[in-house]
């Protein structure tokens, strides 16, 4: 082995096994996998109508906040409008009540759904905080919108399961 081989081998031996990415990639991964909650996917036939309805409602809320911000002439208000704790607390309470009403799901499944919703809500709050200092960041806005949709889909699917069970019971 000559000197340059030796140098290469030594450098190889010093390579770290782990390198941390510059950004936390988890929020993006969580958003993508929340679109299709695998464990409950087989149980739930996604109700397109219900999903669409909730998505439209969430979208309208989002757009409403955007318009409110534009009307006030302060783009930063988009972030602060939906970013206060009371708003998120209300959303969390609504989500929790929706999941708890899905009584045909086992308590363990409801707990998993709630945990996933809390992760999504936590991501939303963090992005919202980030938007307060960078309100026009299009990637942040897109990510936040995506999270709203994911939350809506998850809630819609939960409601759909309950509705299907009720229908079966009525037959």
């Amino acid at each position: 082995m000559n000197a340059s081989d030796d140098k290469l081998q030594k450098a190889l031996g010093r390579l770290p096994r782990d390198i941390k990415p510059a950004h936390d990639l988890w929020p993006g991964i969580a958003a993508r996998i929340a679109r299709r909650p695998r464990a409950v996917r087989s149980l739930w036939a996604y109700g397109m109508a219900a999903s669409l309805l909730v998505a439209v409602v969430a979208g309208s809320l989002w757009m409403g906040f955007g318009r409110q911000a534009a009307d006030s002439g302060n783009t930063g208000a988009v972030a602060s409008g939906v970013g206060d704790n009371a708003y998120f607390a209300q959303r969390a309470a609504f989500a929790e009540s929706t999941v708890q009403k899905a009584t045909n799901l086992s308590p363990a499944t409801r707990a998993v759904i709630l945990r996933n919703l809390r992760i999504i809500e936590s991501s939303m709050q963090q992005i919202q905080q980030a938007l307060e200092s960078d309100p026009n960041n299009p990637r942040l806005r897109a990510l936040l919108y995506d999270l709203y949709q994911n939350e809506s889909r998850l809630l819609a699917a939960t409601q759909q399961v309950q509705a299907e069970t009720n229908q079966r019971n009525d037959l």
Binding site: D18, K20, P27, R38, I119
Partner: protein, 190 residues
């Protein structure tokens, strides 16, 4: 995205509880918090291999995300014969290689002979200069040579395994490795 670096784990997520198999079992049941713990445990290792194979932080981040999403979607098939870390690492390697194959197809480079790819970036073309560490030198290698070098010298695969993973002929893999080592020695000596 600057802001993401400031993100912290949500309070509701228990820290480092349970071993890999317990966590992967919980993740299979749909527990995203358990899967996040597995992600936190292995993201450094997965990102490292993606970065070295892709030679680009943006592509490496995308591939890391893709790998964990694929892992989540395939958890039902994970039998625990190997550790979760080994399994997700393999998914990551395949993800980067698949991405490259797609790029090559899209660029219609499939018609280019291996030897031409081998020679596509001459040794001095992207001379990184003095004081560069091995990571930077690896990143500056021609793509095919970089992949073979990383798979063989860093990840410990054989040429036969690399051939199966990449679709290259064994002889071509050896040629790429020879070329990569030559370039790296020259750059480390510079």
């Amino acid at each position: 995205m600057q802001t993401a670096t400031a993100m912290e784990l949500p309070d509701s997520i228990p820290q480092a509880a349970g071993d890999d198999s317990a966590l992967s079992l919980r993740a299979r049941e749909g527990d995203m918090a358990a899967f996040e713990q597995l992600y936190r445990r292995y993201c450094g290792r997965v990102y490292a291999v993606c970065l070295r194979l892709a030679g680009n932080p943006t592509l490496a981040e995308e591939s890391t995300q893709d790998a964990f999403v694929k892992a989540w979607e395939s958890l039902g098939k994970f039998r625990g014969d190997s550790s979760f870390g080994t399994w997700v690492h393999r998914i990551a390697v395949n993800t980067v290689l698949e991405r490259r194959r797609t790029q090559l197809r899209q660029a219609a480079w499939v018609t280019v002979k291996d030897d031409e790819i081998l020679e596509s970036v001459p040794a001095g073309e992207s001379d990184p200069g003095h004081g560069l560490d091995l990571e930077e030198c690896i990143a500056s290698l021609p793509p095919a040579a970089r992949m073979v070098f990383v798979l063989f010298d860093v990840e410990g695969h054989s040429h036969e395994e690399i051939a199966a993973l990449t679709g290259l002929a064994v002889g071509t893999s050896k040629a790429h490795l020879h070329r990569a080592r030559q370039l790296l020695r020259a750059r480390l000596e510079a």
